[in-house]
């Protein structure tokens, strides 16, 4: 095997793993994805996204997903007198791999945000090979009121962290479930234990400030043990 071919195959494998993890992530968040989309084999991936010389083409690696029924239900705020038919707070998600290899500046980020808002995506995930510049990160946070933009590094997606044996199961609570929890334990929001916004699991699940996540651990004495954390 040639040296250059080897480099491409290594890169392709890495991209394939990131591609798989991002699909698992999107599906774990509650979006609809077909099984064969999530569990694409390396050969299929190569056939679909590689150029003639074996190098992967990131420009073609993109997909969108619609939220499932249960997700829409979870993200719809309870109806009130003034707003009897509230709109769900989630929508179609757009995932794109960034072909840029040097460094990612304002213009690349702006293009992505524009694409998301023009096509009415409620959320967008940009997977990059290199880190963003600090101003590009600012673009991401400034526009996040309209569409939720997230960025992941390829190297962070090589393994799915939720599949690790030491990572307990995290379940996002809906607004009603959160209120029921606070009522049951007579708590104020701030009295819950906290989880940081930038925590890897919080990033995986796309937690926003104020959302509560239920953590289910196995316990030797109790079988299962649930704890709750508020995202800050």
């Amino acid at each position: 095997m040639d040296g250059s071919d080897n480099i491409h195959s290594k890169e392709t494998t890495r991209l394939w793993r990131a591609w798989r993890t991002i699909h698992e992530m999107v599906s774990d968040r509650g979006y609809e994805l077909a099984e064969e989309e999530i569990k694409m084999s390396l050969d299929d991936f190569r056939a679909k996204f590689c150029n003639g010389d074996g190098s992967p083409d990131r420009g073609r690696m993109q997909f969108s997903a619609r939220p499932s029924e249960s997700m829409i239900k979870k993200f719809t705020p309870p109806p009130t007198a003034s707003n009897p038919d509230p709109a769900p707070e989630c929508g179609t998600i757009w995932v794109e791999f960034c072909p840029e290899k040097g460094s990612i500046g304002i213009n690349v980020m702006k293009k992505f945000v524009e694409h998301c808002s023009n096509n009415n995506f409620k959320a967008g995930i940009l997977v990059t090979a290199v880190a963003l510049s600090s101003q590009a990160r600012k673009v991401m946070t400034v526009t996040s009121q309209y569409t939720l933009i997230e960025c992941f590094l390829e190297e962070d997606l090589l393994v799915n962290i939720t599949h690790h044996e030491l990572v307990p199961k995290h379940v996002l609570l809906s607004r009603e479930e959160k209120n029921a929890l606070l009522k049951r334990y007579r708590l104020k929001e701030t009295q819950l234990p906290r989880i940081l916004n930038k925590d890897p699991i919080a990033r995986y699940l796309g937690l926003k400030r104020g959302q509560v996540v239920k953590i289910i651990r196995t316990s030797e004495t109790a079988g299962r043990y649930a704890s709750y954390r508020l995202c800050v």
């Binding site: 500046g105 304002i106 400034v142």
Partner: protein, 312 residues
């Protein structure tokens, strides 16, 4: 602290002796009030002060559009920046904080431009992680921010002014004074000057006719002596060889050998660049077809190499 249940117990039984240390009686508990603020401000006052600080005292961060504007400069790709570019740059840069200026450099590098805002060149691309530089070892990541060392100096000159700002009064406001580094006169003017001088010198040299002016008496004497010596030597050896000494025509002034890049000077050993390993000098490259060297079968060997390549 007295406790209602404790009171009931004392009525029934003899008082149990406490094992705890006796404490002075605690002051009567007061109903819950707002905690006394340390600064002597009520919460509403504190909020107002914070709001004031946020709106007026803290400098707002630079808008993204400014970054985009400055990373698109200069508009014309000429060597000298236009006065419009300079004035835009200077008027915008005075509001920058040092870290925001570094962000601007990063942003320009993202567009593959030199980090100095008024430079139209692309940034340089030195391979590897470290590089031996004039003042020691430098990270290539730092060197690759600029197109040249001169641009680095100019850009960091601005950074220093933002780090330690000098304020001037302008229309009733304190404004950071920022100025560009002055172009070094010698660097810009010497090439033109020296080119002119060189031409003149070479003309003078060509005008100089060595044969006309050197027929002074002393030289005649020297020639006679040399001639006598040659005759004597010829007698000794017995053979006569005709030697014609010709002056080469002078077309230009001899130039001192220079390194290709001044930053590579440390790699050069007696004119040989050790960095270009295995690379032959340019004149040797088209030597492959003339056969006046000692090697008997150069062409045959080449064919063998080519055959080996085509087979694999």
């Amino acid at each position: 602290m007295s406790n209602p249940t404790a009171d009931i117990i004392t009525e029934r039984r003899p008082t149990p002796k406490s094992i705890l240390k006796k404490r002075p009686p605690s002051p009567p508990s007061t109903p819950f009030t707002e905690p006394e603020p340390i600064t002597g401000l009520t919460p509403s006052q504190a909020t107002r002060i914070l709001q004031l600080a946020r709106t007026e005292l803290i400098k707002p961060s630079i808008p993204l559009s400014t970054f985009e504007l400055l990373s698109s400069l200069p508009q014309e790709s000429s060597s000298a920046p236009s006065s419009f570019d300079v004035s835009t740059f200077l008027s915008q840069i005075k509001d920058f904080s040092p870290s925001e200026y570094l962000d601007l450099i990063e942003e320009r590098n993202c567009l593959n431009k030199c980090g100095y805002t008024l430079c139209p060149n692309p940034k340089r691309n030195i391979p590897g992680e470290f590089k031996i530089h004039k003042r020691g070892v430098a990270k290539t990541a730092d060197l690759n921010k600029w197109c040249s060392d001169r641009c680095a100096v100019k850009a960091l000159y601005i950074k220093v002014q933002l780090d330690n700002p000098t304020y001037v009064w302008k229309q009733g406001q304190m404004v950071v004074k920022v100025e560009l580094k002055e172009e070094e006169e010698t660097q810009t003017t010497t090439p033109a000057k020296s080119a002119g001088e060189e031409e003149k010198l070479s003309k003078d040299m060509t005008k100089l006719d060595l044969n006309k002016n050197n027929k002074t008496d002393e030289e005649k004497k020297v020639r006679q002596m040399v001639g006598a010596l040659a005759i004597e030597r010829n007698r000794m050896s017995g053979t006569k060889v005709e030697v014609n000494i010709k002056e080469k025509e002078t077309t230009q002034v001899a130039q001192a050998p220079t390194a290709v890049k001044p930053e590579d000077a440390h790699l050069i050993v007696e004119g040989y660049n050790s960095a270009s390993k295995g690379k032959k000098p340019a004149r040797d490259e088209d030597d492959s077809d003339d056969d006046d060297d000692d090697d008997p079968f150069p062409t045959v060997r080449l064919e063998v190499i080519n055959m080996g390549k085509s087979q694999s």
